[in-house]
């Protein structure tokens, strides 16, 4: 049964990736300019170069063969060259994705650490003032556009109070070799005389973007945990337990929590894809050197190979993350395996 489920999910993954690759391939025709330049990233080719590229990209064959050649190159890591920088798009993607991931992971951790307990707290004091306060605050956080929140925080904490920097990952004066791409890890790994200060500086730089990015998923988790807890608390086995004379704390910890957190776990997984999308906005505002900022710069510079590569990388990542989240959830919740087909 579980094998059947996993196979179906992998089938879905395959289908999604297939569609994505067809879409990415067709972009080179849909973008203005020469499709061959858009694919290869080499503008203004001369005659010999053109002939070589046509041969490499099977441009004299039909679209299907061109697509096959395209997939072959994608798998080999040949994603073309960026118009703007002249270097490999794949190298850019590999270089930039860790920064985006890092920011998203920290934000997710914050949102779980803050969101779930606060949600539980709200449900524990249902309809009392802590619940009302938490729910209304979460509502405000949920409805606030994140770019606005980002600008507000920059204005108050960077420009007015000068507590936090407003751009980048670490002060540029610290020369940290990028070995993993995750700044905190890189600092720990680097043999550097000012390790401690660099670490503090990096944490300083991380604070505002992480808060901004964590705002949305935190409020979602608060609301979701609260709802889920309330639903469980309303069930008969809880009422029985209460009738037996258990305290509120005992009820929540021993009985309600396990049942209520299962759907929350699924929600956490799903939040990751939203996070990556929100991370792009955050990156632009905080000049965070991740893939989102690069993608938006590429759009501005009409760098078609980079737009193609960047879109593909981000979409692939979101598809894979969602499937993994679903699989993990299924492993934890045997009941859900009965839904063999994908559900939105």
């Amino acid at each position: 049964m579980i094998l059947d489920y996993i196979l179906r999910r992998l089938g879905l993954l395959f289908f999604m990736v297939l569609l994505l690759s067809i879409f990415t391939f067709s972009l080179s025709y849909l973008f203005p300019g020469d499709p061959l330049s858009n694919l290869s990233g080499i503008p203004d080719t001369n005659f010999t170069q053109n002939a070589q590229l046509e041969e490499k990209y099977l441009f004299n064959s039909n679209y299907f063969m061109q697509y096959i050649a395209f997939v072959g190159r994608i798998l080999q890591g040949d994603w073309g060259m960026s118009f703007a920088s002249g270097s490999s798009v794949f190298a850019h993607v590999v270089d930039l994705i860790p920064a985006t991931l890092e920011l998203s992971i920290y934000a997710l951790v914050i949102s779980v650490v803050v969101g779930v307990p606060v949600g539980i707290l709200a449900s524990a004091y249902h309809k009392q003032w802590p619940d009302k306060f938490i729910s209304s605050t979460a509502m405000i956080g949920y409805s606030m556009p994140i770019f606005w929140l980002a600008l507000l925080l920059i204005m108050v904490f960077s420009l007015k109070l000068g507590w936090f920097p407003m751009s980048g990952r670490v002060s540029l004066l610290y020369e940290i070799p990028a070995s993993t791409g995750f700044i905190l890890l890189d600092i720990l790994l680097a043999d550097f005389p000012y390790n401690g200060m660099a670490m503090l500086d990096a944490l300083h730089h991380l604070t505002l973007p992480t808060i901004v990015l964590a705002m949305y998923p935190t409020t979602v988790l608060v609301r979701f945990t609260r709802e889920s807890m309330l639903k469980v608390m309303d069930q008969n086995f809880i009422k029985t337990a209460r009738a037996k004379g258990l305290t509120r704390g005992q009820l929540i910890i021993h009985h309600a929590l396990r049942n209520a957190l299962l759907p929350v776990i699924k929600q956490i997984g799903l939040q990751f894809s939203t996070l990556i999308t929100l991370a792009m906005i955050t990156e632009v505002i905080f000049s965070w050197p991740g893939i989102g900022r690069w993608l938006i710069d590429s759009i501005y510079q009409r760098d078609y190979p980079a737009i193609q590569g960047g879109l593909m990388a981000v979409s692939l990542f979101i598809i894979i993350a969602t499937i993994i989240a679903e699989l993990t959830y299924t492993l934890l919740d045997p009941l859900s395996r009965n839904q063999a087909h994908g559900k939105v």
């Binding site: 000049s287 050197p289 690069w294």
Partner: protein
């Protein structure tokens, strides 16, 4: 769980080890300069982009001679002495001894600077047998536009520390051109080492010079990092490290200086100066600067090849409005292509003024009674001569709409922009020029000569033999009065023919933290951080 806790505790402990003294020490070690664009290259010979020259020219390299910004006299640098022959056709430089080239991760010099390096550097510009002449498309925009590559007959090695430049003819601006930011001296030994490995293409990207700082790394759209040259021949360099934070957005640059993420910022716009002036911890420097912001037409492309069309367009523009909205009173309205501080400046009486009626009439005469569609390319970065080209283009767009001309504003990333202008893909462009020497020729030859057209520097794509003859005559004489006459004629020819409309001369601004000192901003040439230090 316990392991996680342990890791967190050790992490916070690491943070406490460093003492306050070290924090102070670290702060003094480096300076962050917020630059407005990526460098195009790391060799000033192959580019004229001001943003690039600001980053590399004075930091990584030295020249044979320089010009004193106050007295306008030549000063010795790598050349301790220079003699010009009586006929003016040969110049002999005596070179400084004991100057070392940079030792970097990719090159370790085995000898000191000598005559071979000078010969190698300058023969690259014109000698087809120089192994590097054709590296990077054989394009040396500044030298080609001022004709240095056509001027030098040969360079003779007199001794280890003496070289003689033999010229085809005496030219009054030769020494001035040798003192520009482009005439830096490169290492022959390094070039040959690269050639031996077939890596010539790295030469312009991984620099080796004799300047106060040594190249360390460049990450596109992110940073450029230099370290101190401990062996600098001229003086002790105070800063351990110099980092350029690439920040194209002007507002972000200002915000970064307010939050102390940058110590110095390039080109704050006039509109932001009032905010900066309120802060005690930030210094704003203003320096008059030899420059011109202009609107150039692609004169080879119809209908801009028609003088009447060009006249109609310039009469339709309200420059007073531009001066207020773009320069905020910190610019000077142009009376000629030369700024008033230049000795050859002559205010032009027939400078076009705002007259939409006349513009409409001229357009009808030119055969476009209903107007036409055109593009104005606006620089995406703010420069001294034009702090906000986008806004200027928008104002022009609304003025031109009134005479029936529909304008499409085009913008690209700065380096792509410059490259495409060089390929003459534009209808018209808002651009400018900041002088590299006080010599007036620096405004004419690089911008409007025929050779500049071929090297892709002439944004008006204008080649007028009569105009070129005036420039040549002016260069062939050392008689100042005669030169001024020729330049007068050249200035009035520009206004008559209007390949470009001179708009304004801007001031150079620089904002820096109050604890930074020793930054050199001159009336011409790029910024120098050789003496920069933190208090």
């Amino acid at each position: 769980m316990h392991k996680l806790l342990l890791a967190l505790i050790s992490l916070s402990l690491v943070g406490c080890i460093d003492s306050k003294e070290e924090i102070l020490e670290e702060k003094n070690q480096g300076l962050v300069y917020c630059a407005e664009a990526n460098p195009v290259s790391f060799n000033p010979q192959v580019t004229t982009t001001g943003s690039t020259i600001d980053i590399i020219a004075n930091q990584l390299y030295d020249r044979l001679i320089s010009i004193d910004p106050v007295t306008a006299e030549f000063k010795s640098e790598l050349a301790t002495d220079w003699k010009i022959s009586k006929d003016g056709k040969s110049v002999t430089f005596t070179l400084r001894k004991g100057v070392k080239f940079h030792t970097t991760s990719y090159f370790t010099p085995s000898r000191e600077f000598n005559a071979d390096d000078v010969i190698f550097t300058f023969s690259r510009l014109f000698d087809v047998y120089n192994p590097y002449h054709f590296v990077g498309d054989a394009n040396y925009p500044y030298f080609q536009s001022v004709g240095i590559d056509q001027l030098i007959r040969k360079i003779v090695r007199v001794s280890d520390h003496q070289v003689r430049f033999e010229l085809f003819n005496a030219e009054s601006s030769f020494l001035a051109n040798m003192a520009t930011d482009f005439a830096v001296v490169l290492s022959k030994e390094y070039a040959m080492a690269l050639k031996a490995n077939n890596q010539e293409n790295l030469f312009d990207q991984y620099p080796v010079g004799t300047g106060p700082y040594i190249y360390k790394e460049y990450r596109r759209d992110h940073l450029v990092r230099f370290y101190k040259n401990a062996d600098y021949w001229k003086h002790e360099v105070t800063l351990e490290q110099l980092v350029y934070d690439i920040t194209p957005n002007g507002t972000t640059r200002i915000a970064k200086i307010l939050t102390k993420e940058c110590d110095v910022t390039a080109h704050p716009s006039s509109a932001q100066l009032s905010i900066l002036a309120q802060r005690d911890d930030i210094n704003v420097e203003r320096e008059t600067n030899l420059n011109i912001g202009y609107w150039a037409f692609n004169t080879e492309r119809p209908p801009f090849d028609n003088l009447k069309v060009r006249q109609a367009l310039v009469y339709a523009i309200d420059i007073d409005k531009i001066m207020q909205a773009v320069y905020y009173g910190n610019g000077l309205r142009a009376q000629s292509i030369l700024p008033p501080t230049s000795w050859a400046f002559e205010p032009q009486k027939n400078m076009p003024s705002f007259d939409p009626q006349l513009a409409k009439k001229l357009l009808t005469e030119a055969g476009f009674p209903k107007g036409f569609d055109m593009s104005i390319w606006a620089m995406p970065v703010s420069r001294i001569y034009n702090p906000n080209a986008r806004k200027m283009a928008e104002l022009m767009q609304s003025d031109l709409r009134k005479i029936g001309v529909n304008v499409n504003i085009v913008e690209y990333e700065w380096n792509t922009f410059i490259q495409r202008i060089g390929e003459h893909r534009h209808d018209s462009v808002l651009l400018g020029w900041a002088a590299d020497t006080p010599d007036p020729d620096n405004f004419f030859s690089p911008l409007l000569s025929c050779t500049a057209t071929f090297s892709g520097k002439n944004p008006a794509n204008w080649c007028n033999p009569e105009f070129d003859l005036l420039l040549t005559k002016a260069l062939d004489t050392t008689d100042l009065n005669l030169r001024k006459q020729y330049y007068d004629a050249a200035q009035s020819m520009i206004i008559k023919q209007l390949p470009l409309l001179p708009i304004a001369h801007g001031m150079r601004f620089q904002a820096s933290s109050a604890d930074v000192e020793g930054i050199t901003l001159g009336p011409f040439g790029a910024i120098s951080l050789a003496n920069a230090r933190k208090r």
